[in-house]
C-alpha cells in the first residue's frame, strides 16, 4: 500500500459507492434506475432520460476503453504529484457506452507512444489508507 500526499476524495451522497468500489480496485459507474444508462460523474438529473430521481446504483464495468486524447502533465499543480511529474494523463471513453469519459494517469510510463483509439484497461493507484483512484494501462489484448 503506497501512501501519497495527494488530494484525497471526500465521498458524498453522490459518490460514496464509487469510492467504495475503487478502494476494492473495482471500477463501478453510476447507472440510472429509470433508463439504465451510465453517467459519469453522476448528476442531480440523469442526462440521458431526464429523471430527477435517477437513484443511481454503482455498477461494475469492464474497465476497458479507448484513448480519446492525452497530455503530458509536466508541472505538479496539486500537492502530492511532485515525484510523479512528468506523467501521461489519458482521456478514455469506456466501452460500455459512447461518450462515457473518464481520465487517469497512464501507468505504462511517460514515454509510451499513443494514438487515438488505443485500447486501455483500468488500473488503480492507492493514494491513502483505504483510498484508491482510477488509472490506466495499455490493454494487452
Amino acid at each position: 500500500m503506497s501512501v501519497t500526499d495527494r488530494p484525497v476524495p471526500v465521498p458524498d451522497a453522490s459518490s460514496a459507492g464509487y469510492w467504495e468500489a475503487t478502494a476494492r480496485h473495482e471500477l463501478a459507474i453510476a447507472r440510472c434506475s429509470a433508463c439504465h444508462g451510465f453517467t459519469h460523474p453522476p448528476d442531480t438529473v440523469c442526462i440521458r432520460c431526464g429523471s430527477i430521481e435517477p437513484r443511481f446504483t454503482f455498477e461494475p464495468v469492464s474497465g476497458r476503453g479507448i484513448v480519446k486524447s492525452w497530455t503530458v502533465v509536466r508541472q505538479a499543480l496539486l500537492p502530492g504529484f511532485e515525484q510523479d511529474v512528468p506523467f501521461l494523463l489519458v482521456d478514455v471513453e469506456l466501452s460500455e457506452q459512447a461518450g462515457l469519459r473518464i481520465t487517469g494517469r497512464l501507468l505504462d510510463g511517460v514515454d509510451t507512444a499513443l494514438k487515438l483509439g488505443d485500447k486501455v484497461q483500468v488500473d488503480f493507484e492507492d493514494i491513502a489508507d483505504g483510498v484508491a483512484c482510477p488509472a490506466f494501462r495499455l490493454a494487452t489484448s
Partner: protein
C-alpha cells in the same frame, strides 16, 4: 421564433482601456473607478448620467486564493457604490462578457436604464495562478484531482491534442498563432506586451506546460480594466462619437456535466456551431456578411476552433491557413482575426480586447489599423461555454 426586438436599438457610446500590467500600482478597485470615469467622459457624459451597471465579476483562477470585491474582482454594486451612484439597474451575471452586454442591451431597450456602464476588471493574484494546495478533493473536484487531472491548461491540452491527432497538425503549429497575436499586441500602447513581439525561436524556447501546450499558448494573468458605456441608439446619436450598434449576442453552456477540466473537442465544436447559428439568427444575417471577426485566444488553440466555426476555413484547416499567413494583419484584405492582439497579445483581459477592437473599427477610431468594415463579431471564451456579440456600424 420571434425577431430580436433589441437588434441595433442599443449602441456603444464610449470606452476606456486601462494600462495592462502584471501588478497595477493601484488597487483593482481604484483602477476600475479611474477607467470608468474616463469611459464616461469619453462618451461625453457625467457620472451622474449613469443609471445602470453590469459586469461579469468572474475571477478565473483555479488556484487557492482568497477573493475580495474591489481587490480580486469588482462587481457592478461595488463600482456603483464607489462612484457614488444609486443606479436603477445593477446586475452581476456569471459567464463571459456577452452576458453583461446582453443584460445592458435588454435593460436599455426595456427602459430599465438609459446609460449603462459595462466593465470588466481582471486581477493577477500573488502566488501561482492555478496552483492548488487542497488536501481534500470535494464536490466536482473529486472526479479529477485524485488522479492528477486539474486545471484549464490540462483541459485545453486534451482538447487540442484530440484536434492535432485527428487532423495531423504539425508539431508547434501554434507558434504562428502566438507570434501573430503578439505582433498585433506589441503595437497597442496599453498592452502588457507593448513593443514586445515574440519570435518563433522565443516561443519554442519557452517550456511545454501540458503537451502540446507551451507557455506562450496561454495568456498571462494581469491587472486590467476595460469599460464601455452603452445607451439607446437614439441617445447615442447626440453624443460625440459615432455609435456602434449591438446587433446580436449569444451565450452558451456545455450541454452536459463532465469531469472538471475535461472539454472534449467534439462537444466544443458541436455546441460552438449552435452558438454561431443562434448569433446569426438573432442578428438576422449570415456569418458571411460579418466582415470583421475577432476570435478569442485565451488559449491559442481556441483561435483554430473559432476560425473553423465562423466559416473562415473548413474543419481541421485553420492551422494551415494561419501558418500560411492567412490571418496576417499586415496583408491587405486578410481576415485579421487577431488584430485586437487578443489575450495572448494583451494579457488575460478575458474578451475585452475583441470587444474593444470591434468598437474601435466600427466607430472609425482604430487609427493606423482602421479598415473599411461594417459588421464585426467579437468571440469570447470557449465556443461551447462562452459567447459572442455582433456589432454594426449602421442600423439595418
Amino acid at each position: 421564433m420571434s425577431e430580436f426586438a433589441a437588434r441595433n436599438q442599443v449602441a456603444i457610446a464610449g470606452y476606456a482601456q486601462s494600462p495592462v500590467s502584471r501588478r497595477s500600482p493601484m488597487s483593482l478597485g481604484a483602477l476600475t473607478i479611474q477607467t470608468t470615469r474616463e469611459a464616461i467622459a469619453d462618451a461625453g457624459l457625467a457620472v451622474s448620467d449613469i443609471d445602470g451597471f453590469t459586469t461579469t465579476p468572474m475571477f478565473p483562477s483555479f488556484g487557492s486564493h482568497s477573493a475580495e470585491d474591489g481587490v480580486a474582482f469588482v462587481t457592478a454594486n461595488w463600482l456603483a457604490q464607489h462612484l457614488g451612484v444609486i443606479p436603477r439597474f445593477m446586475e452581476n451575471p456569471q459567464g463571459q462578457l456577452p452576458a453583461p452586454v446582453a443584460l445592458a442591451v435588454n435593460a436599455i431597450h426595456a427602459g430599465a436604464a438609459d446609460y449603462v456602464v459595462v466593465h470588466r476588471a481582471l486581477h493577477n493574484p500573488v502566488g501561482r495562478y492555478h496552483n492548488s494546495t487542497e488536501q481534500e478533493a470535494r464536490g466536482r473536484e473529486q472526479w479529477g484531482m485524485p488522479q492528477g487531472h486539474f486545471g484549464p491548461i490540462a483541459a485545453i491540452a486534451l482538447a487540442y491534442n484530440e484536434y492535432v491527432q485527428r487532423y495531423d497538425v504539425p508539431e508547434n503549429a501554434l507558434a504562428s498563432v502566438v507570434t501573430e497575436a503578439r505582433k498585433n499586441g506589441a503595437r497597442l500602447p496599453w498592452s502588457y506586451w507593448a513593443d514586445k513581439p515574440l519570435s518563433e525561436e522565443a516561443y519554442l524556447a519557452a517550456p511545454v506546460i501540458n503537451d502540446p501546450i507551451r507557455m506562450f499558448d496561454c495568456d498571462i494573468p494581469v491587472d486590467a480594466v476595460a469599460t464601455f458605456v452603452l445607451t439607446s441608439a437614439e441617445r447615442a446619436r447626440d453624443l460625440p462619437h459615432k455609435p456602434v450598434y449591438i446587433s446580436s449576442y449569444t451565450e452558451m453552456l456545455p450541454k452536459r456535466r463532465l469531469i472538471p477540466s475535461l472539454w472534449p473537442y467534439d462537444g466544443i465544436m458541436e455546441q460552438g456551431q449552435q452558438n454561431v447559428d443562434q448569433l446569426c439568427q438573432r442578428a438576422g444575417v449570415s456569418v458571411e456578411e460579418i466582415d470583421y471577426l475577432q476570435v478569442y485566444d485565451g488559449f491559442a488553440p481556441l483561435v483554430y476552433f473559432w476560425m473553423e466555426l465562423t466559416g473562415l476555413c473548413g474543419p481541421g484547416e485553420a492551422h494551415q491557413m494561419v501558418s500560411e499567413g492567412g490571418i496576417d494583419s499586415d496583408r491587405a484584405g486578410s481576415p485579421a482575426v487577431l488584430a485586437s492582439g487578443g489575450s495572448l497579445g494583451n494579457g488575460r483581459v478575458h474578451g475585452t480586447a475583441q470587444m474593444l477592437e470591434c468598437y474601435l473599427q466600427l466607430s472609425r477610431r482604430a487609427g493606423e489599423r482602421q479598415r473599411d468594415v461594417n459588421m464585426a463579431m467579437a468571440c469570447q471564451g470557449l465556443p461551447n461555454s462562452g459567447g459572442a456579440v455582433v456589432y454594426s456600424s449602421e442600423k439595418y
